[in-house]
Symmetry: C2
Subunit: 220 residues, 2 copies
């Protein structure tokens, strides 16, 4: 799994459709990856572009996992090969750096893990997690001040470590758990675990849109 989402192990093949011009966030920047270690006999439902039930997980959890993998692959393709300078770049005084956003994605996933898998209230983090992730979770001024000078591997290690734990723990849950509503959740409408985890996924896309916007404006 980790090999698949490690950008250093793949090359990108971007095919451009003649009917479309390139736009930030356009469909043309989407995964068309080639994994160096991929077996030619890989079954179709192991394709990164196969969203749906997945071996080792209940049907809806497998579908969620396939989305998590696809989305992560897309984010990693945006930041592939970035230097510390790129990762630290602040577009304006209110921008978050790309590095801070990557850490923020790991933080979000970690906190949702603790909430949904360990049943703890939002904010009830152990010291270790609070120390590692709260600044990145909050971004803003504190993030701009504290998150800098790290190379890409620093952020990838956090993303990979947190993701590995998600995949392991999600394999131990079932669809009934995924659909279960948390009566104490802070959003106004009844919210289930699937909604929280779908948010973890789409939130990566939200920041990927910003990462691409900023990336194309980095002043070298």
């Amino acid at each position: 799994m980790q090999k698949k989402i490690n950008p250093s192990s793949r090359r990108k093949f971007i095919k451009k459709s003649a009917t479309l011009t390139l736009a930030t966030g356009s469909i043309l920047t989407l995964p068309q990856t080639n994994f160096a270690n991929q077996s030619p006999s890989i079954s179709q439902n192991n394709s990164i572009n196969y969203i749906g039930p997945k071996d080792g997980y209940t049907p809806q959890i497998g579908t969620l996992v396939s989305m998590m993998n696809w989305m992560r692959d897309t984010v990693l393709s945006s930041v592939q090969g970035m230097s510390i300078k790129d990762l630290d770049y602040l577009h304006d005084k209110n921008s978050n750096s790309i590095g801070a956003m990557l850490w923020h994605l790991a933080a979000t996933e970690r906190f949702y893990q603790i909430n949904t898998l360990e049943g703890k209230k939002w904010g009830d983090w152990e010291k270790k997690d609070d120390k590692e992730f709260s600044t990145a979770m909050g971004l803003g001024n504190k993030g701009r001040k504290k998150i800098k000078g790290n190379n890409l591997d620093f952020y990838l290690e956090k993303l990979n470590r947190v993701r590995e734990h998600s995949l392991k723990e999600l394999a131990n849950q079932d669809d009934e758990w995924l659909l279960k509503i948390d009566p104490n959740w802070m959003w106004r409408e009844p919210t289930n675990n699937y909604c929280k985890w779908f948010h973890v996924v789409e939130h990566e896309s939200n920041h990927n849109g910003q990462i691409k916007f900023i990336k194309s404006r980095i002043v070298s």
Copy 2:
């Protein structure tokens, strides 16, 4: 359905967690909506924050539809109340306006409809669709030049009309169709219909990240 995603029919309740500061794309901007016309006896799985199988659709299609609804609700909350000036605002010479991005989302969904539901090749659009959606699909210079001066309702009408058609047509499909791989699709790895439709959803989040970034920088 349309009432639910019409931002004019709802108020927003944003609860802020003391442990988090507000960040563009943070979890704090997520749907905590109250629908004016909502019955108090609404069942939990009709909650906008319930992701999962849905009446009127096969299980995986229902899950997809619940994601489509949730994501659209989130995008619409970002643009609620925007003036023509806001919708036309260009942050820099390479930016897309928020109005153009909204049209772009409708265009993307329309083209994926034609491809996945009508079985046509990408780019094989009828004149009517090409005329309405190709400029918005491409964004860029042509989009900046041609897409301006429209009010929010102009874009919402397109988004709602296209979405209504998606929901009607998806109700006529089943999970087997959703999981089916398109052997002719332009991405390198085998891609199924669920992947294409998941992309339609996460692509809204990608642009929502940019919409929020630009929105917070509009010079009044």
